[in-house]
């Protein structure tokens, strides 16, 4: 529906919105950036000829607008009580701000809109929703000083992300629950240190990008399609499932590194209860990824005898292979570089 100039405009405004939020020095500027981001992401979402994407963009608008409204209200409350920039131990206002920001990022217990919405989006829009749209709210959460509600949200997010993804066959919903789980990890990383959550976010975005890129090229939306689509190149199938496991956080893949850092930092802070819940839920997510992978590797499936033509070209293949290489051997490389320098 869009020609490329509209898309460029909306993507630029989306980036600008997030940058405004991140670089602002007052809550009002931050709210403004969030609104710009929201307004420019909605037309990107409803780009498809598909009706589910229209419904998805409507639902996204409603939830995010609600969050923005309450955020603005609490910012004004903050201004009335204190100043615009520092919030001094006023846990009531902080709690409201934190709730709205959790709603914006899709963390439990405010996650109900997220999987349903992802179902209606194209893969590239879903990637944006999972990665870029999380930057601004998470950055704002890191300015708050409220451990209790954040801890509740972390525990609920990881548990719901793990259990919700258990019986899913739709790939988009699976990635949505995985995103909720990783969001729980990111929030716990946030409580430790800003660099830790940024590292986690970067690695998560990279791995999500690889998977989403492949799903987009092969137009995979359902788990059944994953098994019967790769007859011409078994290597591609193998590497795709390796990436799945990497996203699940299985060592020795790259996806284990951010989790390793968070686990280490949490043990230094003696947060053992939180750590135990995070680890248990990660094992559950890893379970359903592993189930998909061992089914694909070891069981026999119906496969087409004729070649299904795909849109993969030379550049896409090179990009995918480089990223897969980094995802599979990244941990070794990083350890090597760390020990060398």
């Amino acid at each position: 529906m869009f020609n490329n100039s509209s898309k460029i405009l909306f993507i630029t405004m989306m980036i600008i919105g997030t940058l405004i939020t991140v670089t602002s020095n007052s809550w009002l500027g931050a709210w403004m950036g969030l609104e710009i981001n929201l307004l420019s992401f909605i037309p990107l979402m409803s780009d498809n000829n598909n009706f589910k994407s229209t419904e998805a963009s409507l639902k996204y608008f409603l939830t995010q607008a609600l969050a923005s409204t309450v955020l603005l209200f609490s910012v004004i409350l903050l201004m009335l009580n204190n100043s615009m920039t520092i919030e001094i131990n006023n846990s009531f206002t902080s709690m409201i701000i934190l709730s709205t920001l959790l709603l914006k990022s899709g963390a439990a217990p405010f996650h109900f809109w997220f999987p349903n919405l992802m179902e209606g989006l194209t893969w590239m829009n879903a990637l944006l929703l999972m990665t870029w749209q999380k930057i601004a709210p998470l950055m704002l959460i890191s300015y708050l000083n409220l451990k209790n509600l954040l801890l509740i949200s972390v525990i609920l997010s990881v548990i719901i992300g793990a259990i919700g993804g258990l019986n899913q066959t739709s790939l988009r919903k699976l990635m949505a629950f995985s995103s909720i789980n990783h969001l729980g990890w990111m929030l716990s990383a946030l409580m430790i240190n800003e660099s830790v959550w940024m590292i986690y976010f970067l690695f998560y975005s990279f791995l999500s990008f690889i998977l989403t890129f492949m799903f987009n090229i092969f137009k995979l939306f359902h788990l059944n399609q994953l098994f019967s689509w790769f007859m011409q190149s078994k290597v591609m199938k193998f590497t795709l499932f390796m990436n799945f496991l990497s996203l699940g956080g299985l060592p020795p893949f790259l996806g284990f590194l951010p989790k390793w850092i968070v686990i280490q930092q949490l043990t230094f802070c003696n947060q053992y209860f939180q750590l135990m819940i995070l680890l248990m839920s990660t094992l559950i997510t890893l379970f359903f990824y592993l189930r998909i992978c061992y089914s694909a590797f070891m069981l026999n499936y119906y496969e087409n005898n004729w070649v299904i033509s795909t849109q993969i070209n030379n550049f896409s293949m090179k990009l995918y292979l480089i990223c897969t290489f980094l995802s599979i051997f990244g941990l070794f490389m990083i350890s090597m570089f760390y020990s060398m320098f």
Binding site: M1, N48, N49, N50, F51, K52, E55, L58, K59, E119, G120, I163, L166, N167, Q168, T169, S170, F221, H222, L223, N224, Q225, F227, S228, F288, I292, S295, Y301, Y302, N304, I308
Partner: protein
Amino acid sequence: MQSLLRQSHRLSCCLPSAQIHTTAVHRTFWEREKKSGYKTKLPEPSKKQLIIDGLRDLKKEIKLWRQEVKEQLESDPILVFRPGETDIVFDFKAPDVLDKWTVTTDADHGEGRSSATLELSAAGAGLFHGEVNSQHTKDGIIKRTGYANIRTKRVRKSFKREATYDWTQYNMLVMKVRGDGRSYLINLHTEGYFDLMWNDIYHYVLYTRGGPHWQIAKIPFSKFFLSSKGRVQDRQSAIQLNCVTHFGFSVAAKKGMDGPFGLEIDYVGLEYDPSHREEFAYEMYKTPKYIVAT
């Protein structure tokens, strides 16, 4: 057809000055209720009766909910397409299957004189038969009439929560029917969340042969086209198979085809055909801006 042209209560078309409207014209898409004016006014039971009914159903609903939680935790979905296997969704051999279907005609809201029933036939199949009649009182509001439909009730999860059918693993609709030579319309309702999508129905025609032999009609989902309240939409897209809410058949007295009709349905099932690679049968051409709603 499922709805008919009520001249005054529909959205007016794009020629504003070409018609003189004698009654109010709605220029909005807003719907007051899900049935869009066709809600049968049933007497609501008293609050006490509602509480008693609720408590009686509570045990059943808890049992259903426990089953759902168990299924979620066991999590053993079918991970593979099964080509050539037909999975039956609507079968007329189960004991109380007729409770799951609703029969409606144009006579329900005083718009015509058709009659229809759904009952079990001698062959053990569901027989949808009756008579369509396009005669109606010429009151200036109704332009054409004469239709009859059957539709399944909305699928629900535990505690009466509305759910949808998930048919994403299939790409064909398979029906074993025995008709009388008429063309019936197959309706796949994909009722959405917002009022704009409450009346989204995907249609396709079921051409029946008539005669004593059963026919198995295999229709791919890519052939279904979208319409809303009987009007085929300009902007078409393929059906979303995880949003199907109801399934139904319609018959109409179109172009003077009044008279008796009969459709015997043995089963309605789903199949995955790997050789059918079509995503959507109707092409959306790139039109100049503001011609077709895009």
